[in-house]
């Protein structure tokens, strides 16, 4: 018996439809399921913890208001992250920091997907390094490691072309490796 989608994807979609039906329990489930993940992401975007909670609270307000208009429930994850990002960016004026053209960024062609740069076994190392990278690198790596998002999904969250995500991810991983090496930690 082969099914096109995994159980979690079906559950997510079902959850959205139950929210669209106005079920309170479904909203509680949605909050419970996504709160920690969204908080981790938003916390990587804003410098203060209090700001991250504020952004998350505003994100939930938007979710409550707009979930009935979510046409494709299968895109819940991307939609939630995009809402959270847009809320944090507009509320804390992060546009400038995110637009900063990183000198190392450039076209990497097809290198990124086929060539990974290092092994990641220690979550603590990743967590520590994430906090020290420039904002654009930090958010792309968070989406990659925490959510295991595809390039297309990350591009939908960030609102940038897939090529940009590809090169950003490549350089972000390299920056993380350099950072860990410079601190004498094994990446």
């Amino acid at each position: 018996l082969v099914l096109a989608r995994d159980e979690q994807a079906i559950r997510d979609e079902l959850l959205v439809l139950r929210c669209q039906r106005g079920e309170r329990a479904a909203f509680a489930e949605l909050f419970h399921q996504w709160e920690r993940r969204l908080f981790y992401y938003v916390r990587r975007l804003v410098p203060q913890e209090a700001d991250a909670w504020d952004a998350l609270q505003k994100t939930w307000l938007k979710v409550l208001r707009d979930i009935r208009r979510l046409r494709d429930p299968a895109h819940l994850r991307v939609w939630l992250y995009r809402l959270a990002r847009n809320t944090a960016v507009s509320h804390f004026r992060l546009e400038r920091a995110l637009r900063t053209r990183l000198e190392s960024e450039g076209d990497v062609g097809d290198m990124v997907c086929s060539e990974e740069l290092f092994q990641l076994e220690d979550a603590e190392l990743v967590h520590h390094a994430l906090g020290r990278l420039p904002l654009p690198f930090r958010e792309v790596l968070t989406l990659h490691y925490v959510e295991d998002m595809s390039l297309v999904e990350i591009s939908a969250v960030l609102g940038v072309p897939v090529g940009t995500v590809k090169s950003r991810l490549y350089y972000a991983k390299r920056a993380m490796r350099d950072l860990l090496l410079s601190e004498g930690k094994r990446p």
Partner: protein, 194 residues
């Protein structure tokens, strides 16, 4: 070197982000407050007005002396007036409920708002019909009838749209529940085979 992402990296990373209990508590309180909005003095006044005016209107509709005469008019007409009265009573009941609770829960209110909107519009259309029926002036009666027909048309279309959307949602939920059961079954089969 190929990247070998450890299973559960997400969980490990999430566990490393330890929130401050006081900030988290403040956030939870604020989210709860957003969901359960206390009525402002203006909203409270509006709810009281709605309660009283709707009760008076409903009572007025039901107590009219012409009511008995209306029973002799074409079938269905008095039913509309009764529906309008029921709608108004429902609105006042809802206002009373809000006043009793002292707050509005933001979740799951939309279907009720929609239903009340439709009932009120239907009641207005019915009242216009009644006026048209009672009026001596043919031109005014025709105008009132035309407006009532337009309102009924709007109510009809919106009701159909709402019912169709709800059915569509229910069908999708049922299909997904079925798909979920199949996925669970597939997983069990896979486990038993392995």
């Amino acid at each position: 070197v190929s990247e070998n992402r450890p299973t559960g990296l997400r969980e490990q990373l999430l566990a490393l982000e330890v929130p401050s209990p006081s900030l988290r508590e403040r956030y939870e309180n604020e989210v709860r407050a957003q969901l359960e909005q206390r009525l402002s003095p203006l909203q409270r006044t509006c709810a009281w007005l709605s309660l009283l005016v709707n009760i008076l209107l409903a009572a007025g509709l039901l107590a009219r002396a012409e009511w008995v005469e209306l029973l002799s008019v074409p079938a269905g007409y008095w039913v509309l007036l009764a529906a309008a009265a029921v709608g108004l009573t429902g609105l006042s009941a809802w206002s009373g409920y809000l006043l009793w609770r002292g707050s509005i829960h933001r979740l799951g209110q939309e279907p009720w708002f929609e239903a009340f909107g439709l009932i009120v519009t239907g009641a207005i259309a019915a009242a216009l019909f009644w006026l048209a029926w009672q009026g001596d002036n043919l031109a005014t009666s025709l105008q009132a009838t035309a407006v009532a027909l337009i309102l009924f048309g709007i109510v009809g279309v919106l009701t159909l749209w709402s019912v169709q959307r709800r059915h569509h949602l229910e069908t999708k939920v049922k299909l997904l529940e079925l798909e979920l059961r199949l996925a669970e079954l597939a997983e069990r089969l896979e486990r038993s085979e392995s």
